[in-house]
């Protein structure tokens, strides 16, 4: 997207379309990527509840994949995940790896 010149801006920086935060892909901020290990998942959905960016999808009442477009990699889901028998179902992996 071409960045606007000063003549093209909405005066007062008012945003006229509601709900356009969806266009802002905050996933690019991520330094660490959460990775879901399905076999350790007990389907408690804590991760879905805690994620501040609604980046964890739920399908038919079950934990589904991440939406990496919006996951900022804060690590809250990995911290809260109880996992199975001491085995985390979410681990954080450095993006550059």
């Amino acid at each position: 997207m071409k960045t606007k010149g000063w003549r093209e801006l909405m005066q007062g920086a008012v945003i006229l379309e509601a709900g356009n935060a969806v266009e802002f892909k905050t996933g690019s901020w991520r330094a660490f990527r959460p990775v879901w290990i399905e076999e350790n998942c007990i389907q408690c959905l804590f991760c879905w509840l805690y994620c501040p960016d609604m980046a964890i999808k739920v399908k038919d009442g079950k934990r589904a994949e991440y939406n990496y477009d919006y996951c900022k990699g804060c690590g809250i889901c990995a911290l809260e995940c109880p996992g199975k028998k001491g085995q985390k179902a979410i681990v954080m992996v450095e993006e550059s790896r």
Binding site: T3, K4, W6, L9, Q11, G12, A13, V14, L16, A18
Partner: protein, 392 residues
Amino acid sequence: MARILAVSGNEAVAEALRQVNPDVCAAYPITPQTELMQRFASFVSDGIVDTELILVESEHSAMSTCIGASAGGGRVVTATSSQGLALMWEMLYIASGLRLPIVMPVVNRSLSAPINIHCDHSDAMGARDSGWIQLWSENAQEAYDNTLQAFRIAEHMDIRLPVIVCMDGFIIGHSIQRIEYLEDEEVKKFVGEFKPLNPLLDIDNPKSYGPLILPDLYHEYKRAQHEVMTKVKDIVLDVAEEFEKIGGRRYGLFEAYRLDDAETALVILNSAAGTSKDVIDEFRERGIMAGLLKPRLFRPFPYEEVANALKHLKAICVLDRADSFGGYGPLFMEVSSALYQVRERPRMINKIYGLGGRDYLPQHAEQVLSELVEIAKTDKVEIIKEYIGVRE
């Protein structure tokens, strides 16, 4: 038919607000503005206006409330003085940055410390860079007329900017003067129905005010804000022309008094211009070609027009009722910037007068005009910036 009365400046501006009947007013009392809002509050409690008067706990909250109400889509006013305006500081920039057409009479008063409740222009000069339009008024009549015109200027669809209307605290705010009021119907027609632009209360079209703008666009937003300021002059003149048709009084970007054939002149804001004009008349009777320029639109400052009006003079004195400590007076800085662009320009001096309500007397104008006559003769300036009316 105009109604002719004897009222204080505060009362005159409160009457203008009554006639405009704004949607929302959020205000906090501060001397010498208090009487203005007290009178307006009476109109509200007597049911004479429909305004929603919101009483707040500080001027910071007053301006914040005005910003919310204006973004909501209402015609909004407040008024303040001195520390009140200073406390609004961060919100002033938000009002102008969001392009909200709020109208705010400022009854000029000095700033603490030491604490003082009397007139000078330090308060409004502190808001100089905040992106608000500033109109200055010599007397109650001008304050009334400027307040009415301020709504038209602020709400003009090509600009949408907040406007401050200045008048001198106590000297004008509390003094009884002759005034001609317009009829309610005339005012109503002149200011017209308020037209909201992108109102938040249009709930079928939700929108957001105040997003975070990072280095990729902030510079562009400020460039756009500079651009809109360049359009203000013409709109101020158009509104003044329309006002003259109903009010009979002519306004411009500044008043030029006996300036065309003058050799020396004073440049001075607000009430002290009145005193100065009397002294200029006396000097003229003695054959001394003196004149005066009284700015009305201080922000945006009409540099070219002021330079054109002053460039033929031999010597001028800019009198400031505010100081920029460590710098020249704020009005002097503007006038020198304006004249620097002219090759042949007058000699200039700067006098600081009347701080904290110190009287500006005819003898002060005489003293300055006599010094100018001397400078015009010798082409020599001894001291550029100096306090006058000060005890040694």
